[in-house]
Structures are given as C-alpha cells and as structure tokens.
C-alpha cells in the first residue's frame, strides 16, 4: 500500500512544480539565445576545454542570465493560466499526416464496395484506385512498404483459390470444358469430394471472380496499413484501453524487427562463407533471431517500465468498484442484447438491452480511464481533409450498395452461362470517388 500511495503523492506535486518552473527554459530557448557556456566549450577545440576553473567561471554567468529570463517567464505565465481554455485554436495538424481513422474509413469503404460485386472490371478498378492513392500519398516510413506485401498476399490468395477450383472441381455446372485432369478415385466415405476431373471455363471464371474479390479486400486493408501508421490509431483509443493497445502495437512492430533481423543475419552468413539463400539458411538463423528478439523484448519492457509505462493514479474505492460493475454489466448487456437480436424470439427487448449494455460499457471505460494519469500529445485532428477522405470511402460503399438495386446484373454477372463482364457506367463512376484522397490528403512528406 505504501508502495503505491507514496509515489503518487510525490508525483502530483511534482508535475505541478514542473509546470511552474519549466517555462523559463522554454523562454530561454524560444528566444534563440545561445546555449550557456557548455556549447561554447564543446564547439571549440574538440576536447580541449572544461577544466574545474573553467567551470567555476561558467556558473555565475548562467545565473545572471537566468534571472531576467525567469521574470519574463512569470509574466508570460500569468495570462496563460488566466485564459480559460489553454488552446483556443486547435493545434496545427502534423505535416503529412491525416487522422489515421480517416484512412481506415476510406479503406473500409472501398473494401465494402469490393465485397458487393464480383464484376472483374469493377474489382480491378477498385484495386487500381487504392493503388493510385497509395502511390500518390504514402510516405517513406517503414510501415508504408506493407502495401507491396499485401498485394503479393492478394495474388497468393487468388492463386490458391484457382488451384483449389481446378483440383477439387467446383459445384458450378459448366458446359465449356477446358481440359480434363485425371480423376483420383476416392473411397466411398469421401463421397461428394472430387479430385481431378473435367475443368470447365465456368468454374475457373467463378473462382477467379471469387478470388479477386478476396484479393481486393486484402489490397484495401494493405492500403490503409501503408497510409496510416498503426500506432497513430492508438491515439484515438480511450485511456482505459491505452495500455492494452500499446502492447498490441509493440507486438505488431515485432514482425518488422524480426524481418530486419533475418535480413541482417542472412547477410552475416555470407561473411561466414555460407549461402544466404534457401530454406536452410533461413532455418539456421532462426534461433539467433529468436534469441535476439527475446532479448530485445526484455530490454524494451525494462525501458518502458523506467519511462513510466503502467503508472496508475489513485482513485477512490467507490469509483473503482463502479468501473468494474459498469464494465462487466455493460459487456453482459451487450452479449444478451446481441443474442436476443439474433434469436428469433427476443427482437422486442434485444435492442434496448444492447443499447443499455453499450452505454454502461462506455461509461465503465470512461471511469476506468481515470485510473490512468496519461495525457495525449498532439492527438490527430479531425479536419476537413479527414472528412473528405473518410467521406469518399463511405460514398463509394454507399453508391455500390445502392447500385445493387438498379444494376445487380452488372455487379454480379452470372458465371453460367458465361458472359463477358461489362463496365456499368454509374457504379464505375462512383468508384472513382475513391480517388478523392489523392488530392485531398496532405502529401506524405516524411524525409
């Protein structure tokens, strides 16, 4: 108990004093005064300086200057506190950054649109739109490279879908047989499964469309990943969930580190005169890579702890209990409500229970946030650009859902009989709305 209360007792006044005496350094630096004497010392002859005598001479000089600065700081300080909200203007958004959620909404909008159609032309258009925006607006940051990975993953998915359709046959009845694979006779218990046999054009086309749809969904997710730093999404999480979120993000950054380690160690294998390609090379560096990764995790955990991760504020027992009750009650309510909504019988009381549970859970999270003393540094601003970007994604999704009513044939061309896909004018035009971010979003200017 003493362990917990003492630091917090310490901690609160501490920040207070920081707040009071820090502006002076801000003022000093803000004025662009040359740093005190150490800089002069450092910039002179590389190491020829800094004796006890020199230091003794330096101190008073610093003091003399500090006095007027401190007064200036006090003068500044008073009005600042008097202003009711400390920030009347919203903080300027960071250069080259848009609210991460806007990118995700845009990408999810495109993904929703993609999930509504199997028209190869429309799917290709959506992929092209996402790709163009990524090419136009991504930065040089490491996470931006994930687009290529997702693109390749999409191709793999497409290939797997095709291979399965060819090998295992397809329930699509078709008349245009492309070629016939030797059929493997299967025992009686495997009835309904077919290996090999005739491959029809209809089955291949159907599989191609299906696979392309999945691949397009993946590409949309990849676009969001490479345009928005996953860590920035954290800033939008409620305080109570922040620490869990950090853990998730740290786990996510684990993978790129691992890849970098593998690359480095494979390069090192060359130095030992071994081949750096092939599965064996990968396996042999596996253990050192894992060892390194574990060591780094431990070091990171130590560093995070030393930097105050997991500090908690003192909250009254009543608040803590209320938090627990609200969260658990809320989650139970959500479960019950969802069940009732899905089950045929309880449609009447399902919605109110669900809403009530949701409200209780949100309140619980809010209260829980009090336990964490965290503040947020420059949270992403949701500005006009964010509205445009998110709006364009939502518009594409909406247009495609609406199009299902008037152009369902064009969106979902039948595989049987084979028909050449046509590009429906209006849905195609609507998908182009997804290009808005390539103009509306700030240009990625990392570096």
């Amino acid at each position: 108990m003493t362990t917990n209360s003492a630091p917090n007792g310490h901690h609160l006044p501490e920040t207070g004093t920081h707040g009071e005496d820090r502006p002076e350094d801000g003022a000093r630096q803000g004025r662009g005064e040359p740093p005190a004497q150490p800089r002069g010392r450092g910039s002179g002859d590389a190491t020829a300086s800094g004796t006890p005598s020199g230091r003794a001479g330096g101190r008073p000089r610093v003091k003399l200057r500090a006095i007027p600065v401190r007064q200036a700081a006090r003068r500044q300080k008073a009005p600042r506190q008097a202003e009711a909200p400390p920030r009347t203007t919203s903080p300027p958004p960071r250069t080259g950054q848009l609210h991460a959620a806007a990118w995700w909404l845009w990408a999810l909008g495109l993904a929703t649109a993609a999930s509504r159609t199997t028209n190869v032309l429309l799917l290709a258009e959506i992929t092209a739109v996402a790709g163009y925006v990524v090419a136009a607006r991504r930065t040089d940051a490491p996470w931006s490279r994930s687009y290529g990975t997702f693109l390749r993953l999409g191709l793999v998915v497409l290939a797997i879908r095709l291979v399965f359709a060819v090998l295992l046959g397809s329930p699509i009845p078709g008349t245009h047989t492309l070629f016939t694979l030797p059929e493997v006779p299967l025992p009686g218990w495997a009835q309904g499964v077919r290996l090999g046999g005739p491959v029809t054009a209809e089955a291949v086309v159907f599989a191609l469309r299906d696979g392309l749809k999945l691949a397009t969904l993946l590409v949309c997710v990849g676009a969001a990943n490479s345009l928005a730093n996953p860590a920035r999404l954290l800033k939008s999480l409620p305080g109570a969930l922040y620490e869990a979120g950090v853990a998730v993000v740290v786990a996510m950054t684990f993978a790129p580190h691992l890849v970098a380690d593998v690359a480095r160690l494979r390069a090192a294998r060359r130095l030992r005169g071994r081949d750096d390609r092939g599965v064996r090379a990968l396996l042999q560096v596996g253990l050192p890579v894992l060892e390194g990764a574990l060591e780094r995790s431990v070091a990171l955990a130590a560093a995070m702890d030393a930097r105050g991760y997991g500090r908690t504020a003192d909250v009254p027992v009543a608040v803590r209990r209320a938090t627990a009750a609200l969260t658990v009650g809320g989650l139970l309510g959500i479960c019950a409500g969802t069940y009732a909504l899905l089950a045929a019988s309880g449609a009447g009381y399902g919605l109110p229970v669900l809403l009530l549970g949701l409200a209780a859970a949100v309140a619980g999270l809010r209260l829980g946030g009090r336990r964490s003393p965290r503040t947020r540094y420059r949270p992403d601003a949701w500005g006009a650009r964010a509205w445009l970007v998110a709006g364009s994604g939502v518009a594409v999704a909406g247009a495609m859902i609406a199009a299902a009513t008037y152009a369902s044939d064009a969106l979902d061309p039948p595989a049987v009989p084979l028909t050449a896909p046509s590009l429906p004018l209006w849905p195609a035009a609507c998908v182009l709305l997804g290009l808005v971010p390539s103009l509306a979003a700030p240009k990625g200017a990392v570096r």
């Binding site: 003493t2 362990t3 003492a6 630091p7 310490h10 901690h11 501490e14 920040t15 920081h18 707040g19 820090r22 502006p23 801000g26 150490p38 450092g42 910039s43 590389a46 190491t47 020829a48 800094g50 004796t51 400390p86 960071r94 040089d140 940051a141 490491p142 730093n229 860590a231 950090v246 950054t253 160690l265 390069a267 090192a268 294998r269 130095l271 030992r272 005169g273 071994r274 081949d275 042999q284 560096v285 050192p288 780094r296 070091a299 990171l300 130590a302 560093a303 702890d305 030393a306 930097r307 105050g308 997991g310 500090r311 003393p373 965290r374 503040t375 947020r376 540094y377 420059r378 990392v446």
Partner: protein, 537 residues
C-alpha cells in the same frame, strides 16, 4: 540526490556478488562518472539507481538506494520515472513509438503532463538536441548517432532530476559525442540535473566530471573521489592522463588545455626527436581497389565516386560522421551490396559476383555486432563450424582462439563472453580462412582500454604478417595508434585520404589527445612518446 548506503547486490544465479560495500553520495547537480574495466558492474550500479536492479533483473540487494528521497526498494521503476531518466546501451531497444516526435512525448504522456507543456518541451528538446529536421522521421531510418540523441531527448522531456546514461557516446562520431556531452553539461549547469554516466571512452568525458566512481574489479568496493585523484590510480585512463603520468605532471591534467600548459618542458625534450615512422615495412601487393564506386541503398546514395586502394601490410582507418557511408563501403567490399557505379576488386575478385565460400578466402569482415557471426551454442562448436566453412584443417580456428583469447574454455556459450572476448572470437572465425584482407566495423565499441590494447596488438601483428586491414571507426585514439593511412568519408564521398599523421593532425576533430597536447610536433600516441624518451636519455 543519489545515495547508496552499504549496498551489495548479487544476481540470482551468480556465485559472487556483482556489487559489494557500495557507499556513495552523489549530490544534486553533479556530473558523476562511473569508470572501470568491462564486467565490473557499472551497468548494475546504474540500474540500481533507476530501480531496474533489482525490480527487473531479479537478484538480491542489501542496503539502501535512495533517489531524491525515494527508496528504490519500495518504488518500482515506473514510480521513479519522473525523477530518474535512464538511457541504456542500445538506443534501439529503448524506443516504444516509431517516430521521433512521438518518442520524445512518450515519457511525458505516461506521467500525465498537460498537452501544452508537452508540446513546448518537445519543441525545446528538438532544438536542444538538433533534431528539429528529423521530427517526423521514423526512428528506424535514423543513423546511430541520431538515434542516441533521440533516446537522450526522450528522457530529457520529462525533466528528470537524475539522468542515468550507460555509454552514451560510444556509438557516436567525435562531433556527435561532443554535442551530446555539451547538452549534458548544459543540463548540469543550467538546470542542476544530476547526471550519472558510465563510459569507456574516458578521453571524451573525464574532463567534464565532478566526481568519479571507480570500480576496480568485480565485487570490490568502489573508490570515489575527484577526477584527478582517481585518474592517478585508475587502471583505465585516457591518453592525456597517461601522458601526464609519464611526464610526472602534478596536478594530473584531465583536459588537453591543462596538459598543454604543463607540456612545455616535454615539448622541448622531444623537440629534436621524431616519432618512429609508422608505415608498412614495404608497399605490398595491391589487394583492395575501388574506383569511382557508387552505391545506392533505397533512395539514398550511400557512396558517390569513392576511390580506395589498400596494399598488403597496410592498415587503413575509415573515419567520418555516423551515416557517412563507412559501413556501406565495408559491406560493398565483401559483396553485400552491388555497386550502382564504378568497379571494385578485392584480392583479384569482384566481391558481389563471387560465391561466399570463395570470397571467404579473399576477404573477411568482422561486423559492428560480432554476435551476428556466431550461431553455435559453444565456443568449440563455433570453431568447428568455422573450420568446416573455411575448409581449413580441424583445429585451425581453435588454435587462433587460443592465441587471441587465452583461457576461454570450450564449453562457454558465445553470448556469455564479454564484448571484447566476443570480438576476438569473431576475429578468430574470420581469420580461420586466412583472408589477406581483413575488414573491421567499429571494433572498439564497448571495449575497455585493456581489451582495446589487446586488439591493437593483435591487429598490428596481423598487419606485420602481411594482411591488409581496413577498419571503420569513430575512435580517434585507435586510428592514431594503428592506422598507416586515414580515409575520411563525408556524405558518401572521400574528403581526405593520406598518411595517418597528416590527416589526423590537420583537423582537430580527428586529432588524438597526444597530438593536441604536443602540437605542432607530429606525436600521435603516448606509446610513441614513451619509446622516444626511452631511446635517448
């Protein structure tokens, strides 16, 4: 501010205590330097201040450590986060977020500092450490020196009363190290921050220290005192102190300025002598040849039109800022990068077109992290693998290890070796194939003076045996001691290439301490002076 009372500490599975009888008081606003050979418990001592020892490492701590009045026994590291800022040896393992600005703000966010204050402090710190241009950069794309500055900045923003730094300058080039030290000086003098710092490169820091804690050997109580007093007895000391001890100056100078003031008589004594010419015995066969070499890494032009020739028996030091292209040049010489322009031949082969097993016999590289070369779980297995890789007779590598690293048992795991031992093991592995060209990337990082002088002796013997050696280093003392020629790279271009004495003496940033003290005479190392004084009465 920091008080150790009768502190002893033993790691959970260790037989002997890592620290014993530590009784230290570091007053507020002091820059306190922890010195001692590798493995004496410097990092443990620092960890005890931030509370990571024993809360994070485990082990048994007796006695009491208090920081700003808080007992580390009852306060976990996170509860000390507002008074103690810690930066470990490896800045990369310190980062929680992925861009510079977020990283600077992270600690403050954890402490719940008001957003306006955070914003102001981030801006201050960006200016203070010269990071303003890098504010939006992903940390992974920064150079080592920049990362170190970000790591220091990330704890500075919290305005801790105590800063604990473990080897903050050992990965930095001389200029960047000066900047970091100037910042520390400024914090100590302007804000009264207490700084506790462990560092092997004493020539960079000792003149700034107010107090020195010397850990002579593991488990022995530390000696605490004024820098000059401790340096007089310390087994680890910078060249300027060695020179002072040699010449019998009193008080012992710690900075080049003090030494120069005292060095008048010594300069006169040395006036009619010249240092032994430090050149290769005879210009040997041309082994490394790079012409108009250009290398691109991603969108960055890492090297542009670099010319380099190295002959057998020659030792060349590559110097220059962090990120100047030194490591890229070395990697290109072993074929890890394909040049975008120009030609490169090493020992008659084009490295990037030669099979690794073949190249091994022509050129060997000891990378910055020697650990990367080690895969096996015992020294013996590592040696056997090296013999196999190099198709050398069994026992070749083990013999080299016995020479370079006497007294290391076969069964030790390479990870349990000290930094210096690991380097020697990696060197032995590379030498197993007896390549005529030997490349070393930052070999002295993390080495104490004893390990360093062993390495210097080893490399000198190799050069005398006809190896061509190229080492990339920030360590001006090492370059002065070892190199026949110094090549300075800046921004991927060669800006200087010439005999070590000429290059090193012409620029203060790269001049070793002895040269600064005895300028304009071309003395580079204390050893040269010693020999000259011994040669004549």
């Amino acid at each position: 501010m920091i008080r150790f009372e009768q502190v002893s500490f033993r790691y959970a599975d260790a037989a002997a205590p890592a620290l014993q009888g530590v009784d230290i008081d570091v007053p507020e606003g002091e820059l306190c330097l922890v010195v001692g050979p590798s493995g004496v418990g410097k990092s443990t001592l620092l960890g005890a201040v931030s509370g990571l020892v024993p809360h994070f490492t485990g082990g048994h701590l007796t006695g009491r450590v208090t920081v700003a009045g808080r007992d580390t026994r009852t306060h976990r590291p996170r509860e000390l986060a507002d008074v103690v800022g810690t930066v470990g040896q490896d800045p990369l393992s310190h980062f929680v977020t992925d861009t510079v600005e977020d990283e600077l703000a992270y600690g403050m966010e954890s402490l719940g500092i008001a957003p306006e204050t955070m914003r102001r402090r981030v801006e201050e710190t960006l200016d203070l450490l010269g990071l303003a241009d890098l504010r939006d950069r992903p940390i992974a794309t920064l150079s080592g020196g920049q990362q170190q500055r970000v790591a220091i900045g990330s704890v500075l923003t919290v305005h801790p009363k105590v800063l604990v730094l473990d080897e903050p300058t050992s990965a930095l080039d001389p200029g960047a190290a000066e900047e970091v030290l100037a910042v520390l000086q400024r914090l100590v003098h302007d804000l009264g921050t207490t700084v506790l710092l462990a560092e092997h490169r004493l020539e960079r820091v000792v003149q700034y220290a107010d107090q020195v804690i010397l850990l002579p050997s593991p488990g022995v109580p530390p000696v605490v005192g004024a820098p000059a007093d401790i340096m007089a007895v310390s087994p680890v000391h910078p060249p300027v102190v060695a020179l002072g001890r040699l010449a019998g100056w009193s008080p012992l100078p710690l900075s080049v300025r003090d030494a120069r003031r005292a060095a008048g008589p010594l300069r006169e004594r040395l006036a009619d002598r010249t240092p032994l010419a430090a050149g290769p015995a005879a210009p040997g066969e041309l082994l490394v040849r790079a012409e108009r070499l250009g290398v691109r890494r991603g969108r960055v032009e890492a090297l542009r039109g670099v010319d380099l020739t190295v002959r057998a028996g020659e030792t060349v030091a590559l110097m220059g800022r962090n990120g100047a292209g030194k490591s890229t040049l070395l990697s290109t010489l072993v074929g890890l990068h394909t040049p975008a322009a120009g030609t490169v031949t090493v020992g008659g082969a084009v490295p990037h077109r030669t099979r690794p097993a073949e190249l091994l016999r022509r050129v060997g590289l000891v990378p910055q992290e020697p650990r990367d070369l080690l895969y096996a779980d015992t020294v013996a297995a590592e040696c056997a693998a090296a013999d196999h890789d190099a198709a050398a007779p069994p026992g070749t590598c083990r013999g080299l290890v016995a020479d370079l690293l006497p007294g290391v048992p076969d069964g030790v795991h390479p990870r349990d070796l000290s930094e210096g031992q690991r380097l020697s093991l990696a060197l032995a592995i590379v030498l197993t194939a007896s390549p005529p060209v030997l490349l070393l990337d930052e070999p002295t990082r993390g080495l104490d003076y004893a390990a360093k002088s062993r390495l210097v002796a080893q490399l000198r013997a190799l050069a005398a045996a006809g190896h061509a050696i190229v080492l990339a280093t920030h360590d001006v003392e090492l370059a002065a001691d070892l190199a026949h020629r110094v090549v300075i790279l800046a921004d991927g271009e060669t800006v200087a290439d010439g005999p070590a004495a000429d290059v090193v003496l012409s620029s203060p940033a790269f001049a070793p301490q002895t040269a600064k003290v005895l300028a304009p005479a071309p003395w580079l190392t204390v050893a040269q002076v010693t020999r000259a004084l011994e040669a004549a009465p």
